[in-house]
Symmetry: C2
Subunit: 170 residues, 2 copies
């Protein structure tokens, strides 16, 4: 596996945070390593929910030792209440990557969709079925957040795996 890149993809969220790990070799062939979703109860305290998301991401890093982390970029376009929790979860994901010494990058939803379906406005079902085909799975990953996490990881690997270099903080 030395010539392959292992990428941890994260679809950030508080209610459901998708976490996926793929190996991509030099021929761009991808294999599934891990996929899962961290769920936190909507009635729990915000800081407790973020801690549960953090614990879930750290556990996957410890188990699967990815080379890089890719997180879906959050935009404040619609549903302002949800987007704030999503942004907070993405901040936690990026923090954990940095603290694990892993390069971290963000990709926009349309970059991710274009990478896996060839079409930046693909819907969730199209992404799910393409992920199943690419990773040779018997069925599309469920829920959509899980498929999205794998799509983010694939997008990162296929876009050349040029993680943003982390510069020292002055």
């Amino acid at each position: 596996m030395a010539s392959s890149l292992r990428v941890l993809g994260i679809d950030p969220g508080l209610t459901r945070c998708g976490i996926g790990v793929v190996d991509v070799d030099r021929t761009r062939r991808a294999t599934l390593v891990h996929v899962g979703v961290v769920r936190t109860p909507t009635d729990a305290d915000l800081s407790t929910r973020l801690a549960a998301v953090a614990a879930g991401i750290r556990a996957v890093i410890e188990e699967h030792h990815p080379d890089a982390v890719a997180v879906e970029r959050v935009f404040a376009q619609h549903n302002v209440q949800t987007v704030m929790g999503t942004a907070q979860a993405s901040g936690v994901a990026l923090l954990i990557a940095a603290e694990a010494g892993l390069p971290a990058a963000t990709h926009t939803p349309s970059e991710v969709k274009a990478a896996v379906t060839g079409y930046g406005s693909a819907d969730k079902r199209q992404v799910q079925s393409m992920i199943a085909r690419i990773l040779q799975l018997d069925a599309p990953p469920q829920p959509a957040d899980a498929a999205d996490a794998l799509a983010i990881a694939l997008c990162h690997a296929w876009r050349g795996a040029r993680p943003h270099r982390r510069r020292p903080v002055r």
Copy 2:
């Protein structure tokens, strides 16, 4: 100091994250314990910036042992680009509180302004000068983010210090 409450207030941000600690006794009298700002360079990687903010908050918790953490609530009303970084920094602050075993709460900017100036639409200068009066400082804390962090801490202590109870995640 057994009868006083020590509150860590955080004005979340990536470029400047205000961090303030106050002790508030039963008579509601407040004293300054710590005030500072974590700055991160705008050209640094996002995950590195969040890690620097996290390190700054953790250092203050380790040095001053607050009883509770209060973070300004972020709204996605204006300046969408800035607000995403602010939300990510607030997520990091809330995570650190949970991982330190501290109760964490959020307060809106107008709650904070009303608590320290009596006026929910007070401007930055009014907040700064009231903070200086309340804490008997020779000069208003600079920059405004530092004063805001102290204002958030005072707001939390004065609003009855009812931190959101953290429930176990199911």
